[in-house]
Symmetry: C2
Subunit: 294 residues, 2 copies
């Protein structure tokens, strides 16, 4: 099969690298907005051939992966579906965006008679604070989860093909309802990134910022790494998953207020309850994860 990549950033290029040696693959074909990216992808052997326009991928591919930032992915999905609807046998279309509800609603709002059965939305839970084609790694998805949020109108064949693609890349594929995906990811990924950005930005503006960065201790170092992720990507995610993210921020802020009150009143017992509950949740989770691996 021929697989097309609309977008040759970290995720698209890494998936191409991961599929490179699979016997099922005939050609890997890419489109990149910047010619320097396309040139790099060709010269590094990440793709076999490039196309001049995104929609050309529809003609030469059996499956097209939209691998651009969330809001652009939404536009491009609508654009490609618009063209694919008039094709006799359109390729399977999937994406890798971190929010799924906005793409889902955008396709539903196109006014088609039914959900295009060749469209299967997906999200690999993998990444790096590095971005771009040069950060691509063939093993980026190995032992990582990919969440698919198939519509009841998606064909079983399309869902299977997208699942297989990720399995070939070493990932574990699971499915969940689109609403659950956006709620869970708001909590586990989008909120932590907002907290990290906010913390690093606040400290960077403090009078003590020079000393703070110079003596950055363990806790802060992890936050700064997260806060060095791609700003455009995270702006798009925050805009696309706004409602769930605001709910998550509010829930976090309530919890932090409780902890602040415990500290302000020197309530050591209350602090211990919070700290122990957090530690136990994490340690229990790790035990389960390890048990699963054994």
């Amino acid at each position: 099969m021929n697989v097309g990549f609309l977008g040759l950033g970290l995720i698209g290029a890494s998936l191409a690298c991961a599929l490179r040696d699979r016997p099922e693959i005939n050609k890997l074909i890419g489109y990149g907005h910047r010619s320097s990216t396309v040139d790099a992808a060709l010269s590094l052997g990440i793709i076999d051939q490039a196309v001049e326009q995104p929609e050309y991928l529809l003609d030469c591919c059996d499956l097209v992966v939209i691998a651009t930032p969330t809001l652009l992915a939404q536009q491009q999905m609508v654009q490609l579906v618009g063209i694919a609807e008039s094709m006799e046998s359109p390729p399977i279309l999937t994406d890798v965006a971190s929010v799924k509800g906005n793409l889902w609603r955008a396709v539903e709002s196109m006014g088609l008679p039914s959900w295009p059965q060749y469209v299967v939305l997906g999200h690999p839970i993998a990444g790096s604070e590095r971005s771009g084609v040069h950060a691509a790694k063939a093993d980026l998805f190995v032992d990582h989860r990919v969440i698919l949020t198939p519509h009841e109108g998606s064909s079983a064949t399309a869902v299977q093909s997208v699942a297989k693609l990720w399995q070939w890349a070493g990932a574990e594929v699971i499915s969940m309802p689109v609403e659950l995906h956006d709620k869970v990811l708001a909590a586990t990924s989008h909120l932590p990134h907002m907290l990290a950005y906010s913390l690093v930005d606040t400290l960077a503006q403090s009078d003590l910022s020079v000393d703070i960065f110079r003596y950055a201790a363990g806790g802060f170092r992890d936050f700064t790494r997260i806060a060095s992720s791609d700003p455009v990507m995270w702006r798009d995610i925050a805009l696309a998953n706004k409602d769930e993210l605001l709910r998550a921020i509010d829930s976090f802020s309530n919890g932090l207020s409780d902890l602040r009150a415990a500290i302000a009143s020197s309530d050591g017992e209350r602090m211990m309850t919070i700290f122990k509950r957090a530690k136990n949740s994490r340690d229990t989770f790790l035990v389960k994860q390890n048990a699963k691996k054994d």
Copy 2:
């Protein structure tokens, strides 16, 4: 010289391991609250000998390191200074606690004629989410910073001896005023730990906690690791550095409110300003760090 360790947890035991093969060291002597810890430290060869009471370390050591949680360290420092004051040549006393102001004030409140010149407060910026004697590592302090906050009444010899001890363990030793230490650490270490505990606790209590822990993504994983640190240690730190920590929480909460407002009003430009400023601060800091290494 003989070095004593009051407390044989991660930090005390790791320092003993690091000093084990130094030619300057005669004996490493330890006191542990739990006999199982002392037995382990002896049988692992981390210490050469154990004493039955903390104050016995004063008689047989040239330098005693108090390596217990912050509030206990404060009590023990006062106790040991109380005894050492009546000794003809007391050993040098230092500690490893994460907050320095409370120890400083506790010693000043003892009503001594002047600061005991053999007391030098210190804080190694190193650690792990693991704790206890079995987590000890000889290289825990290699290339890490140790901050000393010497009082003007501390003798130059005492300061030098404590500095040398840490340099033997591979650390870089720096000095700063006690107030600056507690402000900087509130921002870079104490606040991030509170945020991590609060986030993990809040999510653990959510209706979706099972899914949240199951699909924990990159950002959240780092937070859960931090939140798995020792609850007693962090309760003590929060109590001991309460004022600076509350200021840091409030400053963070203001920043988060700004970001929340930008998200709520879909103000992508404002978000980009915050995200880019955070990313640039971190990236600039990394460039400087790397330049220093070259």
